[in-house]
């Protein structure tokens, strides 16, 4: 079952009145399965935010289809099951946190009794207890991000869309956010988030779509993309005379007292380890180096 499907989405902007169109999105295809955490990866200016705005009906696509739970996204009512956290948290600064959540709840037609229950729970969840009655204009950026997260979840959405949620957070904040995202997944929700930071993707995403220059250049499960190929093994050892190592025709890099050898396959690695043991050397580490998202990304955009 697909939670979100984008078929052949195209969007261009007119930069001026001279009818010169700039294509920002060129045939975007995205498939998000229900219950997945989908990472939407791409450098700044690749078209991530524009794709998200098309999903939310803030921008109108030139062509293509956006289906949410197999229903077209053009009807505003479909957003009843969506939660959205914008890239920059722009909220009404004259409202208090509680009022803001109530206002958001009203936009989802949530009755006020239920709204106050839910907002209490969410305020606790995002760690803003005791700050409910402070006006948003007195909030710090991190706090705004948290309240933004809370309002995105106010309607208990099936699909949560997060635009660059990790940017501008400190390491603790990122850790907390990752935990929340994983908790969402565990409660059966679909999460679609965009980011230009690879590390976050690798840590939580089930599926990744890479967008570059308005094209999806790669889409697939993270495990498929990354894990099946160990590229090489790095063996680090010490306590062997340099001349002996050189005599064995081993390509190495010398750092301090230790040698780093990059082996292209398992046999070479075994030979090296054998050699070290024979010569009573000390093996410091053996690391299989897998293909990272960064490598994939750099390879694909070439």
């Amino acid at each position: 079952m697909k939670a979100l499907e984008i078929r052949d989405l195209r969007k261009s902007f007119r930069s001026n009145f001279l009818f010169k169109k700039y294509e920002i999105l060129k045939a975007i295809n995205i498939n998000v399965e229900k219950g997945q955490i989908y990472g939407f990866l791409g450098p700044n200016g690749a078209g991530k935010t524009i794709t998200i705005k098309c999903i939310l009906g803030l921008l109108f696509p030139d062509s293509g289809q956006i289906l949410i739970n197999n229903k077209p996204a053009t009807n505003p009512e479909i957003r009843q099951i969506l939660g959205f956290l914008p890239e920059y948290p722009f909220f009404y600064d004259y409202l208090t946190a509680k009022e803001f959540l109530h206002f958001s709840a009203m936009l989802f037609s949530i009755p006020s009794k239920k709204a106050s229950e839910v907002s209490k729970k969410l305020i606790k969840q995002v760690g803003l207890e005791g700050k409910e009655n402070i006006k948003l204009k007195n909030f710090s950026k991190g706090m705004l991000q948290r309240i933004g997260f809370a309002q995105a979840l106010i309607n208990d959405p099936d699909i949560v869309i997060l635009d660059e949620p990790f940017s501008g957070l400190d390491p603790i904040g990122r850790k907390e956010l990752r935990d929340i995202v994983i908790a969402l997944k565990n409660s059966g929700k679909t999460v679609f988030f965009s980011s230009h930071i690879l590390q976050d993707m690798e840590l939580i995403a089930d599926k990744v779509g890479i967008i570059f220059n308005g094209n999806i250049i790669k889409e697939g499960k993270l495990s498929d993309l990354v894990s099946h190929s160990v590229q090489y093994y790095d063996v680090i050892f010490s306590n062997i005379d340099k001349k002996k190592v050189e005599a064995n025709k081993i390509n190495f890099v010398c750092r301090d007292e230790s040698y780093i050898v990059r082996c292209q396959d398992i046999n070479t690695m075994n030979n090296i380890i054998e050699f070290v043991i024979l010569n009573k050397g000390k093996i410091l580490s053996v690391t299989p180096i897998k293909m990272t998202l960064e490598d994939i990304f750099l390879k694909e955009i070439k």
Partner: protein
């Protein structure tokens, strides 16, 4: 419910802005100053009292209408809070209507507070209340509603500075539109004549809502004129809101 959410939020935003109270306070202070001015005149002090009072309330309520009307939508788009609202399950029509309702409520509160203070003041200083003044305030309120519906149209597609200029201009034109009546008959060339007629009948004729002169000089008010004016206001507001929704439906939020 969604409509109400927008309306309440709009009202909250307006009343949490200090300028709102400042303008109401100014309106009241200037209405009080009518007492001072009336002391300077010879005879007919009640007339001066009413005249200065009504004029100042008119002036400040129009200011509130123009500034809150444009400022609220401008802020919504400029501060990108609209991204957050429009990503919720709310149609663009409900957004515009909610904004309009919220603004009209804001203006109602402002006008009622100024009017109440002024009527009490009038009662104390003259011992009598001319109930026709209520008709005046009623028509003034409809004029304010027309102004905010126009400001909604402009802010649905244009930048805030331009929309405030447009709205203020239309307000001013609306009050001198009656001069077109003489002007349009002077043009002989058919094309310019048609254009002028179109302009004349499309632009809002705000002078219709101005009963100050009749009220101040205790003339009898023709109820038919009041009723056509209100009908005109309702039709015009409906037209402006339709136009605003029509334009806003096409608007993209980058």
């Amino acid at each position: 419910m969604k409509l109400r959410a927008i309306a309440i939020n709009t009202f909250k935003e307006a009343v949490r802005n200090k300028i709102y109270y400042l303008l109401i306070a100014f309106g009241i202070v200037f209405a009080f100053s009518s007492r001072l001015v009336s002391l300077l005149t010879l005879g007919d002090q009640v007339r001066v009292l009413k005249n200065v009072g009504l004029a100042s309330i008119n002036f400040f309520s129009v200011l509130i209408a123009i500034f809150t009307g444009i400022n609220l939508i401008y802020k919504e788009i400029d501060k990108k809070t609209i991204l957050n609202i429009m990503s919720k399950p709310i149609s663009r029509r409900d957004f515009i209507l909610g904004k309009f309702l919220g603004l009209s409520y804001t203006l109602l509160v402002a006008l009622v507070s100024m009017a109440t203070v002024f009527l009490l003041f009038l009662l104390i200083s003259t011992g009598d209340i001319d109930w026709n003044i209520l008709v005046y305030f009623c028509l003034l309120y409809f004029e304010l509603l027309i102004i905010i519906s126009i400001s909604l149209v402009f802010s649905s597609f244009s930048t805030p500075i331009l929309s405030s200029i447009f709205t203020i201009n239309l307000y001013l034109i609306g009050h001198v539109l009656w001069t077109f009546n003489e002007f349009k008959t002077r043009l002989v060339e058919p094309i310019t004549r048609i254009i002028i007629y179109l302009i004349y009948y499309i632009l809002p004729n705000l002078e219709k809502f101005n009963l100050r002169d009749q009220i101040v000089s205790n003339e009898k008010i023709n109820p038919m004129i009041v009723l056509t004016s209100i009908l005109y206001a309702l039709v015009y507001i409906a037209a402006m809101l339709t136009l605003a929704i029509l334009i806003f439906n096409k608007r993209e939020f980058k």
